[in-house]
């Protein structure tokens, strides 16, 4: 009797559990549906087209090895991404260091200065750089009129312009992970290093710097991946002469209508970033880096 009763209870419990599961699935179904239709399906199509258009096979991928214009574009992309990442990290490190060593009041103002650009459209920011960097822009006219230079510097429509715009965009993304990491460094450790005989710089080099490296790695990954596929700023500030991969893909698909080549490059970019993240996740704890647990 009691055995039956408990079996029945267990069954009831199971169906209740199944009931909750169904309800959870129902709740996430709209989101899941949207994700499938607008994200997974198009990406699947892109991957599929890269091996089927114009003819089935790996013909598009062969171009990676043979096409000179693709080589040039990849090299440009790599160069700009690297320089952007390194310069952003250096600037972000200095900013974050200043930030953690400031009074709470100063910190609030600095944060505002760091976050406001994040809220302003990337388009607006690119056009703002036009005003500053043009041949007859603010920077050139000030430098000319003060006699420091006699021919205007070309700061825009080239790689320099692209990098200036990208570094400006990436800076907050670099500062935040580094700041979060530095804030958790026990200041007493630095004091202890000084007390044990280390000069100011040595205490920084031997204690603060190694303890802040995880934040730098996290910021590096974030900035590098963002830079790699960046479109708007390079397209606007590069003036069509400095082609990075994202703009190159756009040209292939919208202008010369070579879907196969465009989708192949998109797929390559996707796999490259996936591969990079996988490799890095073996080196560092990505979940922790981006703030989870």
């Amino acid at each position: 009797m009691s055995v039956h009763a408990s079996a029945r209870e267990r069954r009831a419990g199971l169906s209740l559990l199944a009931g909750t599961h169904t309800r959870y699935w129902l709740l996430i179904a709209p989101a899941l549906f949207m994700l499938c239709v607008f994200y997974i399906y198009p990406i699947g199509r892109v991957l599929w087209m890269s091996v089927t258009v114009p003819a089935p096979g790996l013909g598009n991928y062969e171009l990676l090895a043979t096409s000179a214009s693709i080589h040039k574009m990849l090299l440009t992309t790599a160069r700009i991404t690297m320089v952007t990442t390194v310069v952003t990290l250096i600037l972000a490190y200095i900013l974050a260091y200043t930030l953690v060593h400031s009074s709470p009041r100063t910190q609030r103002w600095m944060f505002l200065g760091i976050l406001i650009p994040l809220w302003i459209s990337v388009l607006v920011r690119a056009f703002a750089w036009f005003v500053l960097l043009r041949r007859d822009g603010l920077i050139n006219s000030v430098l000319m009129s003060s006699g420091i230079i006699d021919t205007p510097l070309s700061l825009i429509w080239n790689e320099t312009g692209v990098m200036i715009g990208m570094i400006h965009y990436m800076l907050p993304l670099g500062v935040l992970p580094i700041y979060a990491n530095m804030r958790d460094i026990d200041q007493r450790c630095i004091a202890a290093a000084r007390g044990l005989g280390a000069k100011r710089f040595e205490a920084f080099r031997r204690v603060f710097l190694p303890l802040s490296l995880p934040g730098v790695v996290g910021a590096g990954i974030l900035v590098f991946i963002f830079s790699l596929g960046f479109f708007v700023t390079p397209a606007l500030l590069g003036g069509g002469k400095t082609l990075m991969i994202a703009e190159y893909i756009k040209v292939q698909i919208l202008e010369v209508v070579r879907w196969g080549l465009g989708t192949m490059l998109a797929a390559t970019l996707l796999l490259l970033i996936g591969g990079l993240l996988a490799a890095l996740s073996r080196l560092v704890n990505l979940r922790k880096l981006f703030g989870a647990g």
Binding site: D186, R188, C189, A193, R194, G195, L196, G197, R200, R206
Partner: protein, 358 residues
Amino acid sequence: MAGLEISNVTKKYANFRAVDDVSISIKRGEFLTLLGPSGSGKTTLLMMIAGFVQADRGDLTLNGQTITHLPPEARNLGMVFQGYALFPHLSVFDNVAFPLKVRKQSREEIATKVRAALDLVQLTALADRLPRQLSGGQQQRVALARALVFQPHLLLLDEPLSALDKKLRAELQDELKRLHRKVGLGFIYVTHDQEEALSMSDRIAVMRSGKIVEHGTPTDLYERPNTAFVADFIGKSNFVSGSVVEHRDGGFVFSGGGVRFVQRTKGPAPAIGAGVSIALRPEKIGVLRSGETAENELAGTLTEWNYLGSEFRLVVDAGPFGSFSVSVPTWQSDLAPEIGAAMKLGWSAAAGMVVAQD
């Protein structure tokens, strides 16, 4: 002079004097404790000695050399921080090797000295571990080894045991004392725990509101405190005050609240008519049985009692004299405490300690 001389140092924050005109010296090999409640300035004083806080006024002299304005790294003082401040990214060995590395010593020299320091604190087996893989007690020993390995002039300790549980704390107190005897350095130890101060120090400086109220050996401060603050902060005390009415041989009589008390003194007695306060330790007060008498007697009622195994801790309400806390050894008493019972407390003329009221 070998040792540290602190003369008239002051540190002000806004309009608050964290350390106010403090002078004290510590001899080589001495164990000096800075004892005081939180906010008394003991940690600020220690940080001034270490060089992390700059004195607004006054001077620090170490072995005859003025160090008042030297940066911390130039003072050659060992320091154990509250919470230890071990370097989390370095192994135990590298933590202890740190002060030697920044002094550019050779690899062999470093290896030998680190081994010796780890031997001293019995941690040789754990040299390769990271700090987070150690227990609190072990971390604290690493901090000690790291602070001693470079043969500093003095060792400064900022509440090094406060993060540990009671049993471990007692163990490490013994170990610190042993270490102190062995290395023969001057130790300056900051704590708010008076028991810790009593059991470990050669000398205690009691601080309050940025000043040193009194300093002396643990026995001096416990048996012969000069101020009510120290009498109450080190151990516990009951206070009786009144004004002097009569001088006697080796003492005086004072009256307070309509009761006359006799008190013995070593020095000259206060003038007739002067106000006096005496402090009484709970263990120096007895409960009188009927028919028993004492030189000083006070009647009251029992309001609270605790049985602590070795003693009864009683709280007796003595009317205008306030509450008295009394401890009676259980082995010599047939006391059966009952709340509300009338009690007669008694103490001898030698039991009280004359203290300055503040």
